[in-house]
C-alpha cells in the first residue's frame, strides 16, 4: 500500500505545482483539471489518442525499467526507438511487396534488432570496458539522430514531400487500426506493447537469466561470488532494453505514419524514464504509468486550444513538472536503495 502511495503523491505534487503555474497565468485549476480529463478520456477518440501516446511509453518505460533491475540506467531509449523505427520503415520501404502476416513480423524483428544493437553497444562498453552507460547511451542518442537524418534524407527520402520522411512502407506491413476509437491512429501495436510488458515480467521473475540480472542489480559482488556472469547479464539487459525501445517503431511506422518521419518522437525515450521510475521498475506499473503520461500528454496538448491563458509552453511546463516530481522521487528512491546495498 505504501509502495503505491508514494508514486501517487509524487504525481499529485507535480500536478499541483503545474496547476499553480496555470493559476498564476489566470486559469482556474479546476477548469484546467476538467479539460485535462475531458481531453484525455472524454470520447472514444480522445481515449484512443491517449492510448496512442501510451503505446510508445509502455515500450520505452520497459526499456528503462528492465535495465534498472540489473543496476543500469538506460538514458538511450530515444536513440534506440529512433533506430527501431528507422529499421522498420527501411524494411517496409525496401521490400514493399512482402505479403501480410509475414511483413509485420519482419518489420517487428527489424525494429527490435536495430534497437537491440543500440542497447548492446553501451551494454558491452559498460561490461567490458567499464565506461558508464549513462554517458554512452546519451552519446548514442546523438549518433542515432544523425544516422536517422542521413538515411532519411539521402537514402530513403520521400520525393513527394518537403517533410523529412522516408518513402512509404508496403501495404502488407500496415497494422490494422482499432476502429472502436474512431479516427485515432491507435493500432494493434498496443497489444504488442501489453505483450511486451507481460514478457518483461516473465523474464525478470520466471527465468534464470532474469534472476541473474536482478542479482547483479541487487549486489554485483555477491552475484559474482555466486558465479553469475555479471557482464553477460548486463549486456543482455541492455540489449533487451534497446530492442523494447526499438519496438516503438512498430506503432509509429506500421500503425501510424506508414513511414519514418524525422523527429516523430516528442521525447518518448525520456518520458520513458519517468514512466519507469514512477512504476518503480515493475512491468505492470509501467503500463499504468504509461497510461498516465499518455493521458497527460494528450490532455496538455489540448490546454492551449481549450483555454484563453494556457499556451503550449505553459502546458509543457505543467507536463514537465509532473515528470520532474515523479523522476526526482523515483530517482531518489532508486539511489537510496543503491547506496544502502
Amino acid at each position: 500500500m505504501r509502495a503505491l502511495l508514494q508514486p501517487v503523491l509524487a504525481v499529485a505534487l507535480g500536478l499541483a505545482l503545474g496547476l499553480l503555474v496555470t493559476a498564476v497565468a489566470g486559469e482556474s485549476p479546476w477548469r484546467v483539471l476538467t479539460i485535462l480529463g475531458q481531453s484525455a478520456f472524454g470520447s472514444p477518440y480522445d481515449l484512443g489518442m491517449t492510448l496512442f501516446y501510451a503505446t510508445p511509453l509502455i515500450f520505452t518505460g520497459l526499456a528503462v525499467a528492465l535495465p534498472l533491475h540489473a543496476g543500469l540506467f538506460n538514458i538511450g531509449a530515444e536513440g534506440q526507438l529512433t533506430l527501431g523505427a528507422l529499421a522498420a520503415a527501411a524494411v517496409g520501404a525496401l521490400f514493399p511487396s512482402v505479403p501480410w502476416p509475414l511483413a509485420p513480423v519482419l518489420a517487428v524483428l527489424a525494429a527490435f534488432a536495430a534497437g537491440a544493437l543500440w542497447g548492446y553497444i553501451p551494454g558491452w562498453l559498460r561490461a567490458r570496458r567499464g565506461s558508464h552507460e549513462v554517458i554512452n547511451t546519451i552519446m548514442l542518442n546523438f549518433v542515432a539522430a544523425g544516422l536517422a537524418s542521413y538515411v532519411t534524407l539521402y537514402l530513403l527520402k520521400n520525393p513527394e514531400s518537403q517533410n523529412p520522411e522516408t518513402q512509404a512502407i508496403g501495404a502488407g506491413y500496415v497494422l490494422s487500426r482499432l476502429t472502436w476509437f474512431g479516427d485515432a491512429p491507435l493500432s494493434t501495436a498496443l497489444f504488442l506493447a501489453l505483450l511486451a510488458a507481460f514478457l518483461v515480467w516473465a523474464f525478470l521473475w520466471k527465468t534464470v537469466a532474469g534472476f541473474e540480472s536482478r542479482a547483479v542489480g541487487g549486489n554485483e559482488a555477491a552475484a559474482r561470488t555466486a558465479g553469475i556472469r555479471e557482464r553477460r547479464a548486463r549486456i543482455l539487459a541492455m540489449t533487451l532494453a534497446g530492442g523494447l525501445a526499438g519496438l516503438v517503431g512498430v506503432g509509429e511506422v506500421l500503425g501510424n505514419a506508414g513511414r519514418f518521419r524525422l523527429g516523430f518522437s516528442p521525447d518518448f525515450g525520456f518520458i520513458g524514464i519517468a514512466v519507469a521510475l514512477l512504476a518503480r521498475g515493475r512491468a505492470s506499473g509501467v503500463v499504468a504509468a504509461a497510461l498516465l503520461f499518455g493521458a497527460l500528454h494528450k490532455g496538455t496538448s489540448d490546454l492551449d486550444l481549450e483555454t484563453e491563458n494556457v499556451t503550449r509552453d505553459l502546458s509543457l511546463i505543467l507536463q514537465a513538472l509532473v515528470i520532474l516530481s515523479v523522476s526526482a522521487d523515483g530517482l531518489w528512491t532508486w539511489l537510496r536503495k543503491r547506496r544502502a546495498s
Binding site: 534464470v208 534472476f211 542479482a215 555477491a222 552475484a223 559474482r224 558465479g227 556472469r229 544502502a340 546495498s341
Partner: protein
C-alpha cells in the same frame, strides 16, 4: 558494592530505535581505577549503551552520573571535555599524517606568542605538543614512533596512538571497542600490559569484547548484556568462562567442541603452487610464492593477522580471470587447471569454477554473500538458480526453490522462519547460516570458508563449526581462512600461517601452541 563514589554510573538507561528496544533498564557502576569488561553477543546492546556514555546517542530515559554528578551531553565532544574517550574498532586516523598531527588534530596547542591572531590563524605549537606527548608516552609506557606517517605503522602502534589521543585530551575514562580484533596474540599481550599500567596510573577502562578468555585475563569486573538488558554483573574472581558464556547466550553452551576424528585424506581438491600476485593498488596486498594443498576429507586452516594476503588469495581462487595479467604460478582445483598464466590457457571463469563443485562462504557476507534487499528465498537461490531442480530450460521453478529453502530454514534453525523477509532483516548469525545453508545445498567438493563465524553469536558458532566438520566427514576438502586463532585451532586438521603474502609455517593438528602460531603470524620466526 563499595561505598565509594563510582567513576561512572548509569541509572535506568533506556534506548529505542523504531521497533527495536536496544537498551532497557541499564544500571551499571564502574569503579574508579578499574578495568571493566562489557560483554555480550552481537546486538545485545553493549555498543548502544557505550555510545550513550560517549555522547553519540541520547538516552530516551535514565541518567548518567560522572563521579556522582549527573551529566548530559549533546555530542561526543561534550563527553571528551568531561574526560570520557573512546577507541573505536576501526581507528579514526588520517593515514598520511604522523602521530603528532593525528593526536592534536581538533585540539591543536597554540603558540602563546600568536594569541593576537584570530583563532583559526594561530600556528600550531608543534614542539610543545611533542614534548607533552613524549612525557605521556613515558608515563604510561606507550611507545610510539611520532615521526612516521601512521599508515606505515603497525596496527598495535596505531592503537597506542589512539589511546594517546585520549590521554592527551586528559581522558580519565577510556572505552575500548573490541580492541584485540585486529591484533596478533603478541600485540594483544602488549596491549593488556599497557592497559594494566593505565589502571595503575588511576585511569578507568571500559572494554567491550566478546572474547571471554581475554576478559578473564584482564578485567576486574564483568557486565554481561543480553537482548538489550544487563543479565549479569560479577567480579572476575567469582566467575569463569563457561558461566559467562551461558549468561551471554542464555543457555549452556559447549565452547570447546571436540574435533571428530578426521576421515582418511583423499585426492587433492585444491593445489596452489608458487602463486604470486602483483598488487594493482595500495589497498591490495601482494602474494609471494604462495603454495598450499587441500585434500578431500581435511580442513586446512590459514592463520594470520588480517591484511597479509588472505583476501587476495580468496579473490584469485574465485576470480582467476581478473588476475591473469598480474599473477604467476598455478592453481588446480578439482582436477582442472583454473589459473596458469605461464601455460597460456585462459583461466576458468567464476561460473565454471563454482560449477566444478566449489562452495564459498565469503569473507564479507554483506558485500559478497547476500542480496540484502531481496527476500530470503531469493538469497537461498543465489548461485543455485541454474541447477535442477531449481530451474529447467532456463525457467525457474519457484516451487522447488521455496521447498528447499523452507527445509533449510528448519535444518539450520534460521529465524525468522520466513522466506519473504529481506535478508537485511536477519541478524548476523542468521544471515551467515543462510549463506552456509545455500552453499551446502550445492554439495560442494571444495568448501572455501572465510571468517565463517565473524559477527556470529556464540550459540551459532558451535552450530557452524559442527556443519563444517560434517562437510569434511562427508568427503569435502575445506579451506578455512580465519583471523580467530581459537577457530583455527579447533577446526583445522592442518594449519598454515600466512604472513606478508606467503605461507611461513605449517603445522598438523595439535602440533602448534597459540603462542607459537602468534609468533609466526607476527613474522617473528623469520630470521
Amino acid at each position: 558494592m563499595t561505598s565509594e563514589t563510582p567513576a561512572l554510573e548509569l541509572r535506568g538507561l533506556r534506548k529505542r530505535f523504531g521497533q527495536i528496544q536496544a537498551n532497557e533498564d541499564i544500571h551499571l557502576r564502574v569503579r574508579e581505577g578499574s578495568i571493566h569488561a562489557i560483554i555480550g553477543e552481537n546486538g545485545a546492546g553493549k555498543s548502544t549503551a557505550m555510545k550513550m556514555v560517549y555522547g553519540l546517542y541520547r538516552p530516551d530515559e535514565g541518567r548518567i552520573l560522572l563521579r556522582g554528578v549527573q551529566r548530559e551531553w549533546d555530542s561526543p565532544s561534550d563527553a571528551i571535555a568531561a574526560g570520557i574517550g573512546m577507541v573505536h574498532q576501526h581507528f579514526m586516523l588520517a593515514g598520511p599524517y604522523d602521530a603528532i598531527e593525528n593526536i592534536v588534530a581538533g585540539a591543536e596547542p597554540e603558540a602563546p606568542a600568536w594569541r593576537f591572531l584570530p583563532r583559526a590563524f594561530r600556528p600550531v605549537d608543534r614542539a610543545g605538543a611533542r614534548a607533552r606527548l613524549e612525557a605521556l608516552s613515558r608515563q604510561y609506557g606507550l611507545q610510539v614512533d611520532f615521526a612516521s606517517p601512521v599508515e606505515e605503522l603497525a596496527v598495535g602502534v596505531q592503537q597506542r596512538i589512539e589511546i594517546l589521543k585520549l590521554l592527551y585530551r586528559e581522558a580519565s575514562i577510556l572505552i575500548l571497542d573490541e580492541p584485540t580484533a585486529v591484533l596478533t596474540p603478541q600485540e594483544t599481550t602488549e596491549l593488556f600490559a599497557n592497559l594494566r599500567r593505565l589502571r595503575a596510573e588511576g585511569k578507568t577502562i571500559l572494554i567491550i569484547t566478546h572474547k571471554l578468555k581475554e576478559v578473564m585475563a584482564l578485567a576486574d569486573q564483568v557486565t554481561v548484556f543480553r537482548a538489550g538488558r544487563i543479565v549479569g554483573d560479577v567480579a572476575r574472581e567469582r566467575t569463569n568462562v563457561e558461566e559467562l558464556a551461558s549468561m551471554m547466550v542464555g543457555r549452556r553452551v559447549n565452547l570447546q567442541i571436540q574435533a571428530p576424528p578426521a576421515p582418511p585424506r583423499g585426492e587433492p581438491v585444491l593445489e596452489v603452487r608458487g602463486l604470486c600476485l602483483t598488487p594493482a593498488s595500495s589497498g591490495e596486498r601482494p602474494l609471494r610464492e604462495l603454495g598450499l594443498e587441500v585434500h578431500a576429507g581435511e580442513i586446512v586452516g590459514i592463520a594470520g593477522v588480517e591484511g597479509n594476503g588472505q583476501s587476495e588469495l580468496l579473490q584469485v581462487l574465485l576470480h582467476p580471470r581478473d588476475y591473469r595479467a598480474r599473477s604467476q604460478g598455478e592453481i588446480r582445483c578439482l582436477g582442472r587447471t583454473i589459473l596458469n598464466p605461464g601455460g597460456g590457457e585462459r583461466p576458468l571463469s567464476t561460473a565454471r569454477i563454482k560449477a566444478l563443485g566449489v562452495g564459498v562462504i565469503p569473507e564479507d557476507r554483506h558485500r559478497q554473500g547476500l542480496l540484502l534487499e531481496r527476500p530470503v528465498a531469493e538469497n537461498f537461490l543465489l548461485g543455485l538458480q541454474g541447477r535442477a531442480p531449481f530451474s529447467r530450460h532456463g525457467f525457474l521453478s519457484g516451487r522447488s526453490a521455496r521447498e528447499a529453502a523452507t527445509r533449510a530454514l528448519e535444518e539450520y534453525d534460521i529465524r525468522p522462519r520466513s522466506l519473504d523477509v529481506a535478508a537485511a532483516g536477519l541478524s548476523g548469525g542468521n544471515q551467515q547460516k543462510l549463506v552456509i545453508a545455500r552453499e551446502f545445498e550445492g554439495k560442494p567438493r571444495l568448501l572455501i570458508a572465510a571468517q565463517p563465524t565473524r559477527g556470529v553469536d556464540v550459540g551459532a558458532i558451535e552450530f557452524i563449526h559442527r556443519r563444517i566438520f560434517r562437510a569434511r566427514d562427508e568427503g569435502a576438502g575445506v579451506l578455512l581462512v580465519s583471523s580467530e586463532l581459537d577457530e583455527i585451532l579447533v577446526l583445522s586438521d592442518r594449519i598454515l600461517v600466512i604472513y606478508e603474502g606467503r605461507i611461513v609455517a605449517r603445522f598438523a593438528r595439535g602440533e602448534a601452541s597459540e603462542q607459537e602460531l602468534g609468533m609466526h603470524m607476527g613474522g617473528g620466526a623469520r630470521a
